[in-house]
């Protein structure tokens, strides 16, 4: 219980330190900022990268008797993992000026796999479904609402694509006007994004105030 109270007080103090930046930059804010960076780095290095990534995925499978207990310790080592382990070790050579180039083999491997996966999945799951759903009848008999919605979708898609077509100058009755309509659609979408961002930031503020007023001050 005492630990819980202490944690709440520390949390409240750090929250107020962060809020104090809204007034002006001050040592309390800088203390909270430095503390956050330090704790995050320590947490990620120890808890995440070693205990959640390196140990279960590499060390415990290569040296089960050292890093596992019980039945898991009796499992045969998986020697295939020497290859990714070796590639991972090559990345550490970036600290050496002379041998830094060797780490490029690992980077090349990761880039190759990522690019191969992304190109295929982007086309299959993002590009084609979006194009397919943009092909719609602009007039549906007896359903004016859906007709307007489809028209907006089709005109908006075409106009925005025209805006990003840079091989021809955005002038003239066709290119010029369509590009202008495209700008309008883009502005509306940026407005929606801005509104969603404001909503998100206010939600975070509500979370912090709920913590201060409920967990710390017990007002609500």
């Amino acid at each position: 219980m005492a630990t819980e109270i202490l944690c709440v007080w520390i949390g409240a103090f750090i929250t107020l330190c962060c809020f104090s930046f809204l007034y002006k930059d001050n040592p309390f804010y800088r203390f909270a900022e430095s503390l956050f960076v330090g704790v995050s780095a320590g947490y990620y290095l120890s808890v995440v990268y070693f205990h959640q990534v390196l140990k279960p995925n590499l060390l415990a499978k290569l040296f089960p008797t050292f890093f596992n207990v019980g039945e898991a310790a009796k499992v045969a080592p998986d020697y295939w993992l020497i290859i990714p382990g070796f590639l991972g070790c090559l990345m550490l050579l970036r600290f050496s000026q002379k041998l830094a180039w060797v780490s490029r083999f690992t980077v090349a491997f990761v880039m190759g796999v990522s690019t191969g996966l992304t190109i295929v999945t982007s086309a299959q799951q993002y590009l084609i479904p979006q194009i397919a759903k943009a092909i719609k009848p602009i007039f549906i008999y007896g359903d004016i609402g859906q007709s307007i919605s489809n028209t907006v979708l089709v005109v908006g898609s075409i106009a925005c694509l025209f805006y990003f077509f840079f091989s021809t100058e955005h002038r003239g009755p066709v290119y010029g006007n369509l590009a202008k309509i495209g700008i309008w659609f883009l502005m509306i979408s940026f407005g929606a994004s801005f509104g969603a961002t404001v909503m998100g930031r206010i939600s975070l503020l509500i979370g912090r105030f709920a913590f201060l007023l409920h967990d710390w001050l017990h007002i609500i």
Binding site: V53, Q124, Q125, A132, K133, G200, S203, L205, I220
Partner: protein, 303 residues
Amino acid sequence: MDIFLKLKNLDRRWVYVFVALSVILPMVFKFELPIYPGKAVMGVYNTIDTLPEGSRVFLSFDFDPAAESELGPGATAIFVHMFRRNIKPIVGCNWPVGNEIAEKCLTEAKKIHLDTYDSYLNNNKLVKNCIREPKNGTDYVILGYKPGGIIHVKNLCTDFMGPYPQDKDGTPTVNMPIFKTASGNRFSMNDIALIISYTAGTNGIESFISVEGDHKRPMAAGCTSVNIPRFTTYLQTGQLVGMIGGLPGAAEYEKLVDHKGEGRAGMAPQSIAHLIIMIFIILGNLAFIAENRKVSKSKLKKE
């Protein structure tokens, strides 16, 4: 017009004070606004509501404490709904700290389920085999964080036991009842009825959408407000069956499961704060117009 010009030079800290008050006052005075569940949230609710009893749903906690106040309440409400429908959540994480948040939400959901169990049972609102106190390994499991994003999800399409030989507490998963299959085959995405990812950025629902061709499972997303415009495109294409967007989405889901949580409590401050921001945006624009007029008038006088 002078008042608008004065407003233009208003110290920004006054804006902060107004926004802070617009959040604090509705919270203190418990001001409530009506909530109406939208089509996107209903999509998730209806999908879960129509799943057969005992179905297993994969929930991926792909966020960290920075997004907890937005995504946590929605995740808790979904857990409550699943326990009432005897649907078994299997929790994974593409983000390292998702583990701890998943455990927190699960603990809270179990408490809500236990507190409301009797009243729901008496009103015949629970499914036939609904379990009063869900057990780890049988009715739910938290598998923990795995790096890799798309590659990790691709692995899960063929086998869960390979990437997850143990759950997050080190218990071997191979003998867990939750992973038993009728055919006796290895547990894979084929045995999952629905995938839900709570996404705050990269490596979230898009990792699952990327390998949709491999797993062919229905998907839903819980996302931060910032991501709503981006993910709406996946709703429109039918790649997502539904979406819980930000704190308002969580409030709508809480309304559907009849729980007054942080989502519903946050809707009044959210709306009032939006109103204050809108007023400041309008005033700012009026000040901008007033200044432009003043400049053009002074130019005309000089000429």
